[in-house]
Amino acid sequence: MSLDFLVPSTAAVARSPMEREALRARARLETRDGWTVAVSFDEPEAERRACNETVAFADLSWLTKIELQAGAADLAAIVASCTGGGRLELGGAIRVGGAWWCPYTAERAVVLCEPGAAARVRDRIQEAAGVAGGLASAVDVTTAHGALAILGPLSRELFARFTAIDLRPQLTPVGGFRPGSLARVPGAILREAPDRYLMLFGAALGRYVWTVVSDAAERLGGRPVGADALEPFEERVPEAASHA
């Protein structure tokens, strides 16, 4: 028996744990890759302003998340094979081919990618694990974590309202990956760009985390934005600054 029952299916509606909160904030939903995604809210100008001038948050829970476990040497070999020689160091993630490779420990990492790229990433991991030869497992934990992108010049101020993780650039440069306590629950923060972060947290805590983030963002003049308000990544930028 496989672990397919962990993977969301495109034949059933997949919803973010924060969908109801987004709807309450007047989100417009669209189905993409089987997920209902909050693509925009009702004030495009306000969304743009929040992204550029204060702080914005967007629900990206639909991102595929694959937990990779292997012995330290095997994990390094798998990552190197899948990323064209990339090397993970604790505290830093690497981005290759549209996927972030984020280490929790030397023996455990999470890979984040668009749902469309998930099958390809999974196959590459399987292949690389086969070559590495040791015990390795890749488990789809997409629905175990909620994900929020936090962006805008006040992003760090927003995080300061609910986490003690040190996000100053000298400790968390672009590509920095910092697991720790977020709003008193376990989570992790990935710095994707100078003013853009991705935070992960337990999916069952989605409503709570949304409430905390939204409360703090509102105070800073920020607001929720749709997935379409996010600029596509320039692959080159984070890679150049990554720990690869």
Partner: protein
């Protein structure tokens, strides 16, 4: 109106009037005023009533250091008028006086109660008769405390932000030394935060003619990159974390290095009448003049032990106040300030001090003379008595951070003796009081802090060393201080050592007489230093008194332990935002729409019922029920050694489980006690799917991880609790409903009890476990949480024609009780073994594998348990409380307890589970249960109440 002509550096803006009310009366103020300065300017002299004796209290320090000006602002009690900026329309009210500030009925405690209310009187007085305690408590609670918290929630709550701030260097104190330290560290590249309790950076400079200098120093620090926080007192030092309270924000500053430039706290003098309004510290008087252009009085007397008082006298003269006399305790005061006073014709009495303040409701005169009196006392009229007992280093935060102090006999204060690593001190708190020395010491401390972080270069290091040498060569400390006596004047008269708690010198004498002869004991007995000033005004006077009473030296008496908070702070500031981290299943929204009553279950929010628990339970037996069990813990255990791993963790055998089959398991501690239970489904040769109880999920994951870290097994563990939703579809129509949403063959031949299969349910790939917690044919369906609502909706829709109803936790508890399934933690406790819990069959002592708890369980198997978990029925229809006692057949005491009890509509009787003496664990035995004093006869049952042979379940 006592407003002066414009003063250099005043903070007020004379073009911008601000109106507010005080006790309902309109007060005209100016932008930049504090409530205190504005009220003083319009003639208010009494600001509060004291805590115990309800004595009048007026402005003393004008710096937020004492308890004298506490008022209620817009419903919030305990606000210091002298530091609270005025705002248009604000409502200020007095506290702790009724019916009014001027006429306070409780003043009677001072007039008649004084001799009867020594420290600790309430411990001695209100203990008899005991039955009157509730009444005493009510009265005492009304009488005690300051101010009233608003009744309405809206008024009571205000928003406080937490702001975590990491920094390389935190500087506490924004005077000359602090600003220099911040600038020096920031110039070397350190990320610096400076927290200052004053309204603007500059400290004493602001009130002492150094406004421009302060502005430049602050600008310099800002330009260097330091973040300056004003109106931001540090509350404590907690192992590197320093909370800083700034209005509606609590900054939690975590810095690698800490520089304390907290200065000194001007001390009062102790003499009879020292608490009268009109007695003011020299710094307070100067602040009123310089910052707010308020004339503090018309005719002043100054009593001092150092140049502070002399400088204040000069400032008062400059503000047009007549200074009638200056009493300087030093016999040889000859500083430039002393000479200047003499030149202006002010009478300067050397070796003299104030022996008494006189007046009704306000100072009207003072008695001056030599300390202890020498027969040459003189009574002089005044409406302002300015005092200065010198400055005591503000070491509390430093001591909290690990610094030590020692008594400095020359200055009569406890000064810094040593600092822990990573902590620096500069400025007056470190003995560098003169402006240039303070700035140099700040710059050296800031640079050293930065250097210790690897910043700076050889040049900066050399400069710091040179600065440090200059400091060690230069004069240290104030130009000369006389140490004041513990009490000047008549020691038997009323003089207050602790203004916050109304503790007099005599009270400390009494506490020593009663045996509280150490400073820590006296503190607890008299509550000295425990009020809003946190010892700023009273610690040193109390130590001096204690030394005099006990005959010890001040060094021997020592100080009390410095503890947070250094600044009184509303609880709401510490509480933060009111959000509770609740877990919710992905179907939670649907439950709400269906009218579920929601309850806490561990850290989850779950439906208790949907309004009809009885009907919901019956529906499971009659048709079908659907319950959300997403909260179950869910673990993937993978690897070639996964079977062995589980064999080591569970007392039963799991490595021989066939793929696609399920087994129940309990997890035991190494003492053989039940810590959790759940099911284990083997997915393939190397993969198992383990479920745990909802509340045990986190602990079991940790337990597994802990052992896995120790055992050299090839196993990986993944917690998918929050990633998977799970629902249990149960009841006689469950099969038919399954057929409508899934292609899987649910016949009992193809899908037998304890089978696990993977199949699509309503399009969602699912793991379906045929198990039953509720006694009917059941399918526990596990699928990605994101499909929660989709699958739930599909099942309800498919079951609509079959009578399917959602059911909550309460009906589930009844259904499982009918089957006598245990709830770990409810039916078991920390002493329950599988033997006692009627599950001996689950312990496989014959398996080869050693497992956690084996040793203990082998012993438990040899010694039959004294009590056993059994079922019972109660013919008389009363449902006993969970926890009700099981009584012995004869005699007193308790021999067991009820763990669960419900009325079962299906069975038409009361059923339950209880721990009873092992000898009674047989069908038909009778036990007595005591429920709220009523004795009930119960009949023991050892097999499930419903479907005892499991035929329904397996069908």
């Amino acid at each position: 109106m006592t407003r002066l002509p414009p003063q250099r550096g005043e903070r007020i803006d004379r073009r911008r009037p601000v109106d507010f009310t005080f006790d309902g009366q309109r007060v005209e103020a100016l932008e930049g005023d504090t409530v205190g300065s504005a009220l003083y300017a319009v003639g208010q002299r009494t600001f509060s009533r004291s805590f115990k004796y309800h004595r009048r209290r007026g402005l003393l320090c004008c710096a937020g250091q004492c308890p004298n000006c506490l008022v209620q602002v817009d419903g919030a009690p305990g606000v210091r008028a002298c530091t609270e900026p005025v705002r248009e329309g604000m409502h200020v009210e007095h506290m702790n006086a009724s019916p009014s500030l001027d006429f306070d009925a409780m003043r009677a405690t001072d007039l008649v109660g004084g001799p009867f209310t020594p420290p600790g009187f309430y411990y001695k007085t209100f203990i008899r008769p005991r039955r009157l305690w509730p009444l005493y408590e009510k009265v005492l609670r009304r009488a005690a405390g300051l101010g009233r918290v608003a009744k309405s929630r809206r008024e009571r709550e205000w928003r406080t932000e937490y702001r975590r701030r990491h920094a390389d260097v935190l500087v506490v104190g924004g005077g000359a030394a602090g600003l220099a330290a911040a600038a020096a560290a920031a110039e070397l590249g350190a990320d610096v935060v400076l927290a200052d309790e004053g309204p603007a950076p500059g400290g004493r400079l602001l009130a002492e003619g150094g406004q421009d200098h302060a502005r430049e120093a602050a600008e310099h620090a800002r330009r260097a990159g330091a973040e300056l926080l004003s109106n931001a007192p540090a509350l404590g030092a907690f192992d590197g974390l320093v909370p800083v309270w700034q209005g509606d924000t609590l900054h939690q500053v975590r810095a690698k290095r800490h520089v304390y430039t907290t200065g000194v706290i001007e001390q009062p003098l102790l003499f009879p009448g020292n608490d009268l309004p009109g007695v003011m510290l020299s710094g307070g008087a100067r602040r009123l003049v310089s910052l707010y252009a308020v004339k503090p009085g018309t005719r002043a007397i100054v009593a001092t032990v150092c140049d502070r008082g002399l400088d204040a006298a000069l400032a008062l003269i400059g503000a047009g106040v007549e200074v009638a006399c200056v009493a300087d305790l030093r016999a040889d005061a000859a500083s430039p300030a002393a000479q200047a006073l003499v030149r202006r014709g002010v009478e300067l009495r050397r070796a003299a001090t104030v022996l008494e303040a006189r007046g009704r409701g306000h100072v009207q005169g003072a008695v001056l003379g030599a300390r202890g009196g020498d027969g040459h006392e003189r009574v002089m009229a005044c409406d302002l008595l300015v005092v200065s007992g010198g400055g005591a280093p503000a070491t509390s935060l430093l001591c909290q951070a690990g610094a030590r102090t020692a008594y400095d006999a020359e200055r009569g204060v406890f000064a810094l003796a040593s600092l822990p690593g990573g902590v620096y001190a500069a400025g007056e708190v470190a003995g560098h009081g003169e402006l240039h020395a303070a700035e140099l010491s700040g710059a050296v401390a800031g640079a050293e802090a930065a250097h210790s972080l690897g910043l700076g270069d050889a040049d900066s290091r050399a400069r710091a060393v040179a600065g440090s040498e200059r400091l060690s060569r230069g004069p240290v400390g104030p130009s000369g201080v006389a140490v004041p006596p513990p009490v000047a004047g008549d020691r038997g008269a009323r003089c207050f050592a602790c203004l916050c708690e109304d503790v007099t010198a005599k009270d400390i004498h009494l506490s020593v007489e009663e045996g509280y002869d150490s400073i820590e004991l006296s503190k607890r007995y008299t509550t000295t230093t425990m009020g809003p000033c946190q010892g700023r005004m009273c610690q040193l006077p109390a130590i001096r008194l204690m030394a005099a009473e006990t005959g010890q030296s001040l060094e021997q008496v020592g100080t009390t332990t410095a503890r947070p908070p250094w600044q009184a702070v509303p609880m709401g500031v510490l509480a933060g935002r009111p959000f509770e981290p609740a877990k919710r299943s992905s179907i939670h929204g649907r439950h709400r729409e269906l009218g579920a009553n929601v309850m806490w279950a561990g850290d989850w929010r779950r439906p208790y019922d949907y309004g009809d628990p009885r009907g919901e339970a019956l529906a499971v037996h009659d048709a079908a029920g659907l319950i959300d069990v997403s909260t179950l813990g869910k673990l993937i255990v993978r690897g070639p050694d996964a079977g062995e791993f589980l064999d080591r963790l569970y007392p039963n055998r799991l490595s021989n489980l066939r793929p696609g089959r399920i087994r129940y398991g309990v997890i035991t501690s190494d003492a053989g006690r039940i810590i959790d239970d759940g099911t284990i489904c083997r997915l393939d040769d190397e993969s198992f799917y383990v479920t745990t109880t909802s509340s045990g999920a986190g602990a079991v994951y940790e337990w597994f991880s802990w052992w896995l870290a120790d055992w050299p097994l090839r196993v990986h563990l993944t917690d998918v609790t929050q990633g998977l939703a799970a629902v249990n579809l149960a009841g006689p129509r469950a099969r038919e409903i399954m057929a409508k949403v899934s292609a899987v063959d649910c016949s009992s031949e193809a899908f037998a009890y304890l089978d696990g299969k993977q199949a699509d349910v309503a399009g969602a790939r699912s793991l379906i476990l045929r198990i039953g917690f509720v006694g009917e044919v059941g399918y526990e369906i596990h699928f990605p949480a994101a499909h929660g609502e989709h699958v739930w909706d599909a099942l309800l829709e498919a079951g609509a024609d079959y009578g399917l109803r959602p059911f909550g936790l309460e009906p589930q508890r009844l259904l499982r009780l009918q089957k006598m399934h245990i709830l770990v933690g409810q039916d078991t406790d920390s002493e329950s073994t599988p033997y006692g819990a009627a599950m001996p069959w689950i312990v496989k002592l014959d398996k080869d594998q050693a497992f956690i708890g084996r040793w203990a369980l082998e012993r438990a198997a040899e010694e039959p348990p004294e009590t056993a978990l059994v079922g019972f029925t109660l013919p008389d229809g009363r449902v006993p409380k969970e926890g009700a006692a099981v009584l012995p057949e004869s005699g007193d005491g308790q021999v067991g307890q009820v763990t669960s009890a419900r009325h079962s509509p299906q069975l038409g009787q009361v059923i339950g589970m209880a721990w009873v003496p092992a000898g009674l664990a047989r069908d038909g035995a009778e036990v007595t249960i005591s429920d709220d004093g009523k004795r009930l006869r119960a009949r023991v049952v050892t097999k499930p109440f419903f479907d005892p042979e499991g035929e329904v379940l397996r069908s």
